[in-house]
């Protein structure tokens, strides 16, 4: 078979070998695409049948959560804010959308998905200083949103941040469930005793004093190493942070940006905290609370599960401590906050 694509330059023989190859390639592609649809359907059924675990919590937060108080953030939000204490003491329903290994972009995506359905009365946004440092991990983790893009197109702009071809890859029906099979199977088959309480999962482990001292030396060494390097901020993450605050301002939702307690007293992050605070202070509905140097928690290993996370006892003390700040929640909060407030404990 000969194919002439114009002039001598492009004359070439479409050989039998090519014909055979393309014929088999088409057949193979049909098999692959069909398999993708079938396997993708199975993965979707498995994924959305989970009743417990982080995936089920994301699904609930995106599709169903309608609580008065919504908490956003990383693992430090996930493990630091007891929803039952907040609910009891504020007499309002509460849901924690914090998620392990996630950072600002994920919080923004969750916020946008939730605000597209309803407006909570109060938002708590737990942020850690390192979330605005340079690093691509915070965007790679957005792949957790992939299973939802078919019914939440507003999330596409976030999955697009993962990489230039990410949304094209999502044409595959299996790809959104990449790396999720083991967790989905576990949560479907096994009985999960650690079911979250409205998105909150306390950590039960207690650090020892020895462990704290040992890690302090290491942390100091790492901090020294990092201090030697020039700190670079992720401008995209900063913009996402501003977008988050702009959205609550426009919606008139009272919001608290909180830096939760740290185990070690460190001044290393102060520059970043100041930067976050200065951004926050330009938003009328937002209050900035910094607990990073709170003496109640500094060097108290019995309140921590590891060097970054409070344990159950620590989380309950911390939640109890911040409740008074949220007490005056009411729908017309916007007028009360005519002066930007920023508080550091």
């Amino acid at each position: 078979m000969a194919c002439l694509a114009g002039g001598n330059l492009f004359t070439f023989n479409f050989s039998i070998a090519m014909y055979t190859f393309f014929k088999k390639l088409v057949l193979f592609l049909v098999i692959v695409i069909s398999s993708d649809r079938i396997l993708g359907w199975c993965m979707k059924e498995l994924y959305f049948s989970q009743k417990t675990g982080q995936f089920a919590d994301i699904t609930y937060a995106i599709d169903s959560a309608r609580q008065d108080i919504i908490i956003f953030g990383s693992s430090r939000a996930y493990h630091h804010y007891s929803t039952s204490i907040l609910s009891q003491q504020l007499s309002r329903t509460c849901y924690n959308t914090g998620m392990d290994a996630q950072m600002i972009p994920f919080s923004c995506a969750m916020q946008e998905a939730i605000l597209s359905r309803y407006q909570p009365e109060l938002i708590i946004f737990d942020i850690s200083p390192w979330e605005i440092n340079e690093g691509s991990e915070k965007y790679e983790k957005l792949a957790a949103l992939s299973p939802y893009i078919t019914h939440h197109p507003e999330l596409l702009k976030y999955t697009d941040l993962i990489g230039p071809w990410e949304n094209f890859k999502l044409n595959s029906k299996v790809y959104p469930y990449n790396s999720s099979l083991f967790i989905s199977l576990y949560n479907t088959i096994a009985v999960d005793e650690n079911k979250s309480a409205n998105g909150y999962v306390p950590l039960t482990r207690v650090m020892s004093g020895k462990e704290m001292l040992l890690n302090k030396v290491k942390i100091d060494a790492e901090a020294k190493k990092e201090q030697e390097q020039q700190k670079k901020y992720d401008q995209q993450a900063i913009q996402l942070y501003k977008d988050f605050l702009n959205r609550v301002d426009s919606a008139g939702i009272k919001t608290f940006v909180v830096i939760s307690p740290a185990l070690y007293k460190s001044t290393f992050n102060q520059e970043t905290i100041e930067k976050l605070k200065s951004i926050t202070n330009t938003h009328i509905m937002v209050t900035f609370l910094d607990f990073s140097l709170d003496p109640v928690f500094i060097e108290k290993p019995d309140l921590f599960s590891d060097i970054f996370h409070l344990n159950k006892k620590g989380a309950e003390i911390f939640t109890g401590k911040i409740v008074p700040y949220f007490k005056d929640v009411h729908p017309n909060r916007k007028e009360l906050y005519s002066n930007n407030s920023s508080e550091t404990l």
């Binding site: 694509a5 190859f21 057949l27 993708d36 993965m43 083991f182 890690n215």
Partner: protein
């Protein structure tokens, strides 16, 4: 441009299609333009360095061929100095300068030589060595000087092996660049299958393991001995899959266009000695050092003492080739030492080696485990950011047995699955080469089912965050 990026998929389809659509006389131009684009996708300006070495070596090749006696040798030396000079400036200048600074600092003197703020061009050591092999072979009379500047440029820049090898010899690849390749169904299909296997190694194994490895190696002081041991084993598998995965993609990609690149890996972790390991690991580099350094130094024809010395020198240089850091130098030196010890112990090992039966199987398994252990220990130096970090990690091994860091059970489970799949497939390839060849099974449905399964294993379990290949930095 990374092989494990979607941009590459588009690029590959366009270039391969154009390659077969255009007549033979224009194909070098298609490949050369594609290779320039491929290289410039990293740091565009560094194409000038490549251009410089190409011009130097092209002229040197023709001049060497036209010369005799001392002039011939002088021209070779000029070409080698130019190549090594570029390597020295871009790769070793700052390292040497830092060391000079430390040395002068000991005498309370300031180092007057400025630090160069330059990025290391991607794959510099690879294409420099490939270019050097050309002038050396022309000098030795094993290869005719290439008169076609475009073809010579393509020899250095051929995109599948431009940034991480295999480091080709001109005798193998230059004639192929002149030859007219017709579309071959067999080459196309086997090339694509090899690429698929390479993608599995890179995306499912290497990039998955890197998540754990990076967590441990980047925070050396935080991890106990068990975590360090796991990370070291994971890194051994990671670097093998990262690099051999790249080689498989490169070889497969070239094969689809009718080019036959040299084999770079032969399942090295089944080696029963360090010597065997080096005949299976990065074959194109180890044979380069053998042909252009070890044999000219006397090879095996010299006294044992001189031979041991030569081995140490070659492996030290191999370490330096990998990077301007003492970690690589120590890594190379360790391998040199292992080889010397291997040779010293040869009479003993030959005497105790059982000839057949179960004892031989046990002996071989023991030898493989010992070799793997030595290689894995040396990888700690290779992967660590500094010698201090490597020593810290080694000292952490004292706490072996403590509860290890998992880096998330989900990721750890994926790591174990990846290693299991890799081991199962490589074991079959090594010990049952003629059985269960699912990709080449006579029944079409078995072939299609296994290929489809491999694609979905990659989609479901692969890591798609576009991690760079480790060997690009060299």
């Amino acid at each position: 441009m990374l092989f494990n990026s979607f941009s590459f998929v588009i690029f590959y389809i366009l270039i391969t299609t154009a390659y077969f659509v255009f007549p033979h006389k224009y194909r070098w131009l298609i490949l050369l333009s594609g290779s320039c684009y491929f290289y410039m996708a990293f740091v565009p300006v560094y194409i000038l360095i490549l251009g410089f070495t190409i011009v130097i070596d092209y002229i040197a090749g023709i001049s060497i061929e036209n010369s005799v006696g001392r002039k011939r040798k002088a021209l070779l030396i000029i070409s080698l100095v130019a190549n090594i000079g570029i390597l020295a400036v871009f790769k070793y200048y700052n390292f040497l300068n830092d060391n000079l600074g430390i040395l002068l600092g000991n005498f309370n003197q300031e180092n007057p030589i400025p630090y160069l703020h330059i990025l290391l061009p991607i794959g510099l050591s690879f294409h420099t060595f490939q270019a050097m092999s050309y002038t050396i072979e022309v000098y030795r009379g094993n290869q005719k000087a290439e008169r076609h500047f475009g073809i010579y440029s393509l020899y250095v820049m051929f995109y599948p092996q431009l940034v991480a090898g295999p480091i080709e010899r001109p005798q193998n690849i230059l004639p192929q660049m002149h030859a007219k390749h017709t579309f071959s169904y067999v080459n196309m299909v086997s090339g694509l299958k090899l690429m698929l296997w390479g993608f599995f190694k890179k995306l499912v194994v290497a990039d998955r393991l890197s998540l754990y490895v990076d967590s441990v190696f980047n925070h050396s002081s935080f991890h106990n001995g068990t975590s360090v041991a796991i990370a070291a084993v994971f890194f051994a598998v990671q670097i093998y899959c990262d690099f051999s995965g790249y080689s498989d993609i490169a070889i497969g990609c070239a094969r689809t266009m009718g080019f036959d690149l040299m084999k770079n890996f032969k399942r090295p972790y089944f080696s029963k000695s360090i010597k065997e390991f080096w005949s299976r690991w990065h074959i194109s580099l180890s044979t380069w050092f053998r042909d252009y350094l070890y044999i000219p130094m006397g090879g095996n024809r010299v006294s044992p003492l001189k031979r041991y010395f030569n081995l140490l020198v070659v492996f030290l240089l191999s370490g330096i080739w990998h990077g301007a850091n003492y970690t690589f130098i120590i890594w190379g030196f360790l391998h040199g030492l292992f080889l010397v010890f291997g040779q010293l112990l040869k009479p003993v090992t030959q005497r105790i080696q059982p000839e057949r039966g179960l004892k031989k199987t046990i002996y071989n398994a023991g030898s493989m485990i010992l070799t793997l252990t030595l290689v894995t220990l040396s990888w700690i130096f290779f992967r660590a950011a500094s010698v201090d970090d490597a020593l810290q990690l080694l000292s952490n091994l004292k706490t072996f047995g403590a509860v290890p860091f998992t880096g998330g059970l989900n990721n750890f489970a994926h790591c174990l699955l990846a290693i299991f799949l890799l081991f199962a497939i490589e074991y079959k390839m090594e010990f049952l080469p003629h059985k269960y060849n699912l990709f080449y099974h006579p029944r079409i449905w078995v072939r299609y089912a296994s290929l489809t399964a491999m694609i979905f294993i990659i989609i479901l379990f692969g890591v798609f965050s576009g991690g760079q290949f480790i060997y690009f930095q060299f």
